[in-house]
């Protein structure tokens, strides 16, 4: 039953099975959205239920209350700590004020948050995170304290991110032409990956846009069928006799079909458009990881540069038998150590990313396969219902014309 993909299983095994085999399991539910507070300060709180047998956790079950900003905190912490890993994406921060508390939006956000936490809990590395444990276990008040304290300190300033993206988008050609110093990876694989991710986002965004529009079209068609049905019924009342009855039946059927369309629009939103949106978010998260990789590379390069200069300086000092040699030697040793660390960090990021990208591709094929299947099933279901509804009218219409 559990997927045999190896250590990177994205799915938590069933708790009962795990108890028997004492395989570590960690299963989380995000449920029960409740509106808290009033006016501008109002927000939604969620119940987060954790079931686990992992020893690092206090007890086998824990329930805490969390809000969206807590999830954001968790994401930021993981992003800081686990460079190279694609952190599962969060649902969008703000929505148009009007929809912020609509039932549909709340449900979609709840699902997305549930998926978010579970992806973390299923990830071999991420699930070990201490921050995850904090998130899943501490009290609401403690969580609030932690969140507001640490948010300021560790959040990357937008300016930095933009700068990094600028670097990421510069091309190899610039390096070759000597336009700028080579602070960018120039490997073919890296270029290819970068190009792929950026292009993929564009394509996906377009598909998601059309999917969202399609949801809207379903609703519009449903709405116009409903209005049409009402108008036809009134016409039927005016006509009277068989014809009037025929019109009334048609009007009623129109309204029935309209309901089916509204229902399917909702399914389409949840099971097709949202997965596409999720895909887009995931790609955006990867972009952020690429930025981290570029930053790490840049740091490594800069340190290498600095070391070269220090070496030259040191030799000079040694030649002149300066009394600053000692000092310079210590600095040099320190820099060497930093440089080694930077190189290690960079290489780990590269290694992790390679693993992650493979897993990502497989996961997305699965996710999309499911989404397409649901889409097709939903459309087939709708079309069948529509055909059945209209077909049931035909004998009545026949009867009208023969009498």
């Amino acid at each position: 039953m559990a997927s045999s993909r190896g250590p990177q299983s994205p799915r938590s095994p069933h708790p009962s099975l795990s108890l028997a085999s004492s395989q570590p399991y960690l299963s989380v539910s995000v449920t029960d959205p409740v509106k808290m507070g009033t006016g501008v300060q109002a927000y939604i709180s969620y119940r987060v239920i954790t079931k686990t047998n992992m020893p690092q956790y206090q007890g086998s079950e824990k329930i805490v209350i969390r809000r969206y900003s807590d999830f954001v905190w968790l994401y930021d912490r993981l992003f800081e700590k686990y460079k190279g890993i694609f952190i599962p994406p969060l649902p969008e921060k703000s929505a148009v004020e009007k929809f912020r508390f609509s039932a549909e939006f709340i449900e979609m956000r709840r699902r997305a948050l549930d998926v978010f936490v579970n992806r973390i809990a299923s990830h071999q590395e991420l699930r070990q995170s201490e921050d995850l444990r904090t998130f899943l276990q501490v009290d609401e008040e403690v969580m609030e304290r932690i969140r507001s304290y640490e948010t300021g300190l560790f959040k990357k300033k937008p300016a930095d991110l933009i700068q990094i993206f600028k670097d990421v988008q510069s091309k190899v050609s610039d390096v070759v032409l000597g336009k700028e110093k080579p602070v960018e990876e120039s490997s073919e694989d890296y270029e290819k990956l970068k190009h792929y991710i950026f292009e993929l986002e564009n394509h996906l965004a377009e598909a998601q846009k059309q999917a969202y529009r399609l949801v809207k079209r379903h609703r519009e068609l449903g709405s116009s069928l409903s209005d049409f049905g009402k108008a036809v019924k009134l016409l039927g009342a005016c006509e009277g006799d068989n014809l009037g009855k025929a019109f009334s039946e048609l009007g009623a059927k129109s309204e029935a079909v309209s309901l089916k369309l509204q229902k399917e629009a909702h399914e389409l939103l949840m099971n097709f458009e949202e997965p596409l949106k999720d895909y887009v978010r995931a790609v955006q998260s990867i972009k952020a990881t690429i930025a981290e990789r570029a930053a790490a590379f840049k740091q490594q390069c800069e340190l290498a540069e600095t070391i070269k200069l220090k070496e030259i300086n040191l030799d000079k000092l040694m030649l002149t038998r300066s009394d600053r040699v000692r000092e310079a030697e210590l600095e040099y040793k320190e820099l060497k150590r930093e440089s080694e660390e930077a190189t290690e960090r960079f290489e780990m990021i590269v290694r992790l990313m390679n693993e992650e990208i493979e897993r990502f591709q497989e996961q997305k094929t699965l996710d999309m396969g499911i989404a397409f299947h649901e889409f097709a099933k939903g459309q087939a279901r709708l079309a069948t219902a529509v055909a059945d509804a209209w077909r049931s009218l035909l004998p009545k219409l026949e009867a009208c014309s023969t009498t």
Binding site: S3, S12, P13, H14, R111, V115, R119, H195, H203, E206, A207, K209, Q210, A211, R213, L214, R217, E220, L221, L225, D227, F228, K230, A231, L234, L235, A237, C238, E239, D241, N242, A246, F247, L250, N271, D278, E358, Q361, E362, K364, T365, L366, M368, G369, I370, F372, H373, F375, A376, K377, A380, A383, T384, V386, A387, W390, L393, L394, L397, S401
Partner: protein, 475 residues
């Protein structure tokens, strides 16, 4: 009733690709028959108007080629064509509304709000051409008007249209019943009594209009009960029903337009979605590093193809829906014609009532004069002459009255026959419309079900995976 040769039975599922050059035409009344009367309007051409050549911009006008084919015995030869300009159509329309009072005469182009709404996306000349074609076909489909001299002359006589731009006889002569005595006494050109019965028009008919207005006010306030008939209760009921029908039809017509647009939109968006996935497929295939990408690309292709197919089906369905629901627009346009016909009737009644009032006034004056003159022994030559004049006026007015009554009765009968025909045709056409609409919806829904069913099957391996997993990334 006429059946057009182009009429394709609505209860046959149509899978013909739509020819964009074919304008959707209204199906004429449904009962099939041996006779056909086909009219096509084409080849708009610019011509120079010699009369207006002094003013720039006003010296060109457009003519349209009107081609007719029919096997009606009234028309020889059976195929003929003519070029006409729009002004000629107005003339035709005016002539018909005068000659065929009481009939439901299809409103001419530019007089039909419904048509102009349905066609508003075309350019002007094309709009005119389509409207003209629809109009002439409707005339050809009318059992009485199709055989009218006016129509025949319009369709067959080459060169200048030999119909008067306006008769307006009543006002060209001297305003109808009011001036009748004067004419008869030699004050102006003679006017046949039957011309009196044309409804009063604007301009020089002012006097008559005022007289009739006075009469209609009198009628409304019930101060002088016309000694003639009262309004037919049945007719008043019918009138109200027709008004109600018009209201509801207008509403449905509007919603039908919205429905058609919504069907169009969903088809288009499906198409765009399919296109987006085709691009994605191509992209993943080109950039594939992992096999998972190729698998995904294949899945996307399956989805994209189905989406594009479904999109086509939606759009095809919509073309058929538009054709069917067009019947609603047709009948809405017809309610205008009905209103006109009812107005013809009211006008005719008003004329009768006016004449009756006149008559009654003249008679009482005559009686007074006679009474007065009888008191004078030997008689007053001047007064006696006056009495004789009056009596002559009364005789002429009596004649006019009889003609007016006949005209009124004729119009009433036209109304009745037309209403019967309208009711029968409407029921048949509406039922056909409903059937056609429903059959199409069923047919295309079944096709669309097939398309998606196949995709669902081809992706069913993913469904199986999903059910074995406890916590799914709810996608």
């Amino acid at each position: 009733m006429m059946g057009s040769e182009n009429h394709v039975p609505n209860d046959v599922m149509e899978t013909l690709p739509l020819n964009n050059h074919q304008t959707p035409t209204p199906d004429p009344p449904s009962s099939p028959s041996f006779f056909f009367f086909d009219i096509t309007v084409s080849s708009p051409q610019k011509d120079l108007d010699p009369a207006n050549s002094l003013l720039p911009g006003t010296n060109t006008y457009v003519t349209y080629l009107i081609t007719s084919r029919t096997n009606l015995p009234d028309f020889r030869p059976h195929e003929f064509c003519v070029r006409r300009r729009f002004r000629d159509v107005v003339t035709l329309s005016d002539r018909l509304s005068e000659s065929y009072r009481g009939f439901f005469i299809p409103p001419r182009p530019d007089k039909s709000f419904v048509d102009s709404q349905v066609m508003r996306n075309q350019d002007f000349v094309e709009q005119r051409r389509i409207a003209l074609e629809k109009y002439l076909r409707r005339l050809a489909a009318h059992p009485v008007i199709s055989k009218s001299d006016e129509l025949r002359v319009f369709l067959q006589v080459q060169g200048k249209l030999p119909l008067l731009a306006t008769t307006d006889v009543a006002s060209r002569m001297l305003d109808g019943a009011v001036r009748l005595p004067k004419q008869l006494l030699g004050d102006g050109p003679a006017m046949a009594p039957h011309e009196v019965v044309q409804p009063a028009k604007g301009g020089r008919d002012l006097l008559r209009l005022f007289k009739e207005l006075k009469q209609s006010v009198a009628n409304d306030w019930g101060s002088s009960k016309p000694p003639f008939i009262e309004e037919d209760k049945g007719f008043l009921e019918k009138k109200e029903l027709t008004q109600d029908l018009e209201l509801q039809l207008s509403n449905v017509s509007q919603q039908a337009e919205a429905l058609v647009k919504a069907q169009q939109d969903i088809g288009e968006t499906m198409g765009e979605l399919g296109l987006a996935f085709i691009k994605l497929t191509k992209f993943e295939n080109e950039e594939a590093v992992f096999n998972a990408q190729r698998v995904r690309a294949a899945d996307m292709k399956t989805l994209a193809n189905a989406t594009v197919k479904a999109s086509r089906f939606y759009r095809e369905l919509n073309l058929h829906t538009m054709k069917h629901l067009d019947t609603l627009h047709e009948y809405l346009g017809l309610t205008m014609a009905i209103r006109s016909a009812f107005v013809d009737r009211s006008n005719a009644l008003l004329t009768v009532q006016t004449l009756l009032s006149e008559l009654s006034a003249l008679q009482s004056r005559s009686e007074k004069l006679e009474a007065a003159s009888s008191k004078i022994f030997g008689g007053d030559k001047a007064r006696i002459r006056k009495i004789e004049e009056l009596k002559e006026t009364i005789r002429v007015t009596e004649d006019a009255k009889y003609i007016a009554i006949r005209e009124y009765e004729r119009i009433k009968e036209n109304n009745r026959l037309e209403l019967e025909r309208f009711d029968a045709e409407r029921r048949a056409d509406f039922l056909n419309m409903l059937k056609g609409f429903v059959v199409n919806q069923v047919g295309y829904a079944e096709k669309i079900t097939d398309v998606w069913g196949k995709v669902a099957e081809e992706t069913s391996c993913y469904a199986r995976q999903r059910t074995t997993v406890e916590k799914v990334a709810s996608v």
